[in-house]
Amino acid sequence: MSIDTQTAAKVAKLARIKVEDDALPALANEFNTILGFIEQLNEVDVEGVEPMTSVTPQRLKRREDVVTDGDMQDKILANAPDAREGFFAVPKVVE
């Protein structure tokens, strides 16, 4: 599986990272190096092996479905690059 500049551009778009057109060939090259390394996994016989979901055979704990936290709007907004009137502000989303 080889990655071309078009695929690299698509991946960058999916990852929401702006990559200039002239940087795409080098990026595609790096992907190919890493994916070439990963291809070794195809040598392994994984027939009948379940994909690991949890490294420790523990059941995740559950708790009562109740509110345990909250009421701290100021703290939540304190680190926002742009907070207005109690909300996170972003550029216009809907035309």
């Binding site: 990655i3 695929t7 690299a8 991946v11 960058a12 999916l14 990852a15 929401r16 990272i17 702006k18 990559v19 990026l27 790096e30 992907f31 190096t33 890493i34 994916l35 390394f37 990963i38 291809e39 070794q40 996994l41 195809n42 040598e43 392994v44 994984v46 092996v49 379940e50 994909p51 690991m52 979901t53 949890s54 490294v55 420790t56 523990q58 995740l60 704990k61 708790r63 701290m72 703290k75 939540i76 304190a78 680190n79 926002a80 690059p81 742009d82 996170f88 972003v90 550029p91 216009k92 989303v93």
Partner: protein, 493 residues
């Protein structure tokens, strides 16, 4: 008294309890050492006011006879841990200016146990790297030096390793996703343990790959690791993967008696191209454990070879998901936008200028292996291989092996910048001996056991059974005693 910063945790604790020294004196000695070591670029956010305030409080507790495990002991905190009101940037530009409104569980526990925080420590950006060269703060530098070159302290917990090795703090926190505690410890002649997955809460630690990340102590001795791990570990309802198991008194388990213990030597770790001195170090370590009364057995971990490729699917996949939260909306940096830019441009520009090159690369590799059409071929296959890697260890432990001895790294510390022209995979090979342990969720400890021909420290790794850090640390203690590693870097900074 001079050079209080050179004490171990255990020595300083005993002197504090005996009222020979105060925490304020100890903390001032460390702060002075920190200020004189800016060349190492280990501390990136210093917190002297917090430190002195905590030291005074610790002295009051000591005077009142209430001295918990870490009371009055100055430590450094990796920048990956959220610390309330103190910059916590994961060494990334995208978290510039971020000051958490909350305290991570690990730092809360350390503070409850009386620890003093000297500041935040350098690291690779989002813990992605093996040389501390991807940090927005610039490189951390290894206090060990043999010629004109500045050497890497390893990564990602490079600042932690550098600070402990240079006696700037008595100990530090680290995190380990593929070797980020153990490799820097091996490069700096210090001791570090990655606990069993679930032993230490991940809450409040900036997430890289959630199924692999674990925090642990980085210290001057095995005893210190036992003391500090006890203070960091324990169940936390805020981390659903944290184990509801009692934390034993790890220090009390350090008897040094390993007679009859079965130590496995995995043949697959004897890689082609491993330098002779690493092989010799490993053979010497094996002989030391044998002399201490352990039984040495050859074992096989047949899927070892596939650990790194599996890791470089799973870790980027989880990272691409975890790092989706850095979008320029809720915290950290937002890119300057042009007229007419919408929300998509905001995301793309923010992430392009906020993430460094290695982080961008891993996020995109992760995005690719999770994308439609490739999920099964890459991600699910890697998780199957991971199950096989874990099974290799399960079988060894079922056969009666108590711990496994391997090299910690394939080389000693290398020069900063020496790997910059290599392809990324070359750098990834640094973690070849450590990454299996994260994939299998096991505890692993790095112990300094010798110097290479140039005079740089080398370490061996011991891998233990799940939840048996106490037994593992005891074996490490026996190895430490037999190796008698006492070399320290000569001060040049």
């Amino acid at each position: 008294m001079t050079d209080l910063n050179k004490l171990t945790l255990a020595e300083a604790r005993d002197k504090l309890r005996a009222k020979e020294i105060t925490s304020v004196e100890l903390t001032e000695a460390c702060l002075k050492a920190v200020d004189a070591a800016d060349t190492l670029n280990a501390f990136v956010h210093k917190t002297p006011e917090i430190a002195l305030q905590q030291a005074k409080a610790a002295d009051a507790r000591l005077a009142a006879g209430d001295a918990p495990a870490m009371c009055g002991l100055p430590v450094g905190i990796k920048d990956l841990f959220c610390t309330k009101g103190v910059a916590s940037q994961a060494a990334s530009r995208i978290l510039e200016g971020f000051k958490p409104e909350y305290e991570s569980t690990v730092t809360s526990k350390l503070f409850d146990a009386g620890s003093v925080m000297l500041g935040k420590l350098n690291m690779d950006e989002f813990a992605m790297g093996s040389s501390n060269e991807t940090s927005v703060y610039g490189n951390a530098v290894n206090p060990w030096k043999v010629d004109d070159r500045q050497l890497t302290p390893g990564g990602s917990s490079g600042g932690s390793a550098s600070a402990v090795a240079a006696d700037l703090c008595l100990a530090a926190t680290g995190t380990d996703t593929g070797g980020s505690i153990r490799q820097p410890c091996a490069f700096t002649g210090t001791v570090g343990i990655k606990p069993t997955y679930g032993r230490v809460s991940r809450w409040g630690i900036v997430a890289f790959a959630s199924s692999l990340d674990q925090a642990g102590p980085m210290t001057k001795t095995v005893r210190d690791s036992a003391i500090m791990l006890g203070a960091m570990a324990g169940h936390d309802p805020k981390d659903s993967t944290s184990a509801d198991l009692a934390v034993p008194d790890f220090e009390a388990m350090l008897t040094g008696d390993i007679r009859g213990k079965k130590i496995g030597i995995p043949k697959e770790y004897r890689l082609d191209g491993t330098p002779d001195e690493i092989v010799k170090l490993w053979d010497d370590g094996t002989a030391m454990l044998k002399d201490a009364g352990a039984q040495i057995v050859d074992i096989s971990l047949p899927h070892t070879k596939y650990a790194l490729p599996a890791y470089y699917v799973i870790a980027p996949a989880e990272a691409s998901s975890n790092l989706a939260r850095y979008d320029g909306v809720r915290y950290g940096r937002r890119a300057k936008l042009a007229a007419g830019d919408g929300i998509t441009e905001m995301y793309e520009k923010t992430r392009a200028e906020g993430f460094g090159h290695e982080v961008q690369r891993r996020v995109m590799v992760g995005t690719y292996v999770l994308s439609a059409g490739f999920y099964d071929a890459y991600y699910n296959r890697a998780r199957r291989v991971r199950a096989l890697i874990k099974r290799d260890f399960d079988l060894a432990f079922e056969a009666g092996v108590d711990a496994i001895l391997t090299p910690a790294t394939p080389s000693a510390a290398f020069g900063l910048g020496e790997m910059s022209d290599e392809d990324p995979v070359k750098m990834y090979l640094n973690d070849v001996f450590t990454v299996t342990v994260n994939l299998a969720g096991l505890p692993g400890v790095s112990v300094p056991t010798g110097l290479d021909a140039q005079g740089l420290p080398l370490g061996l790794q011991l891998i233990g059974r799940p939840w048996e850090e106490g037994d593992l640390l005891n074996t490490a203690y026996a190895l430490e005693q037999a190796a008698g590693f006492v070399a320290k870097p000569q001060r040049w900074w």
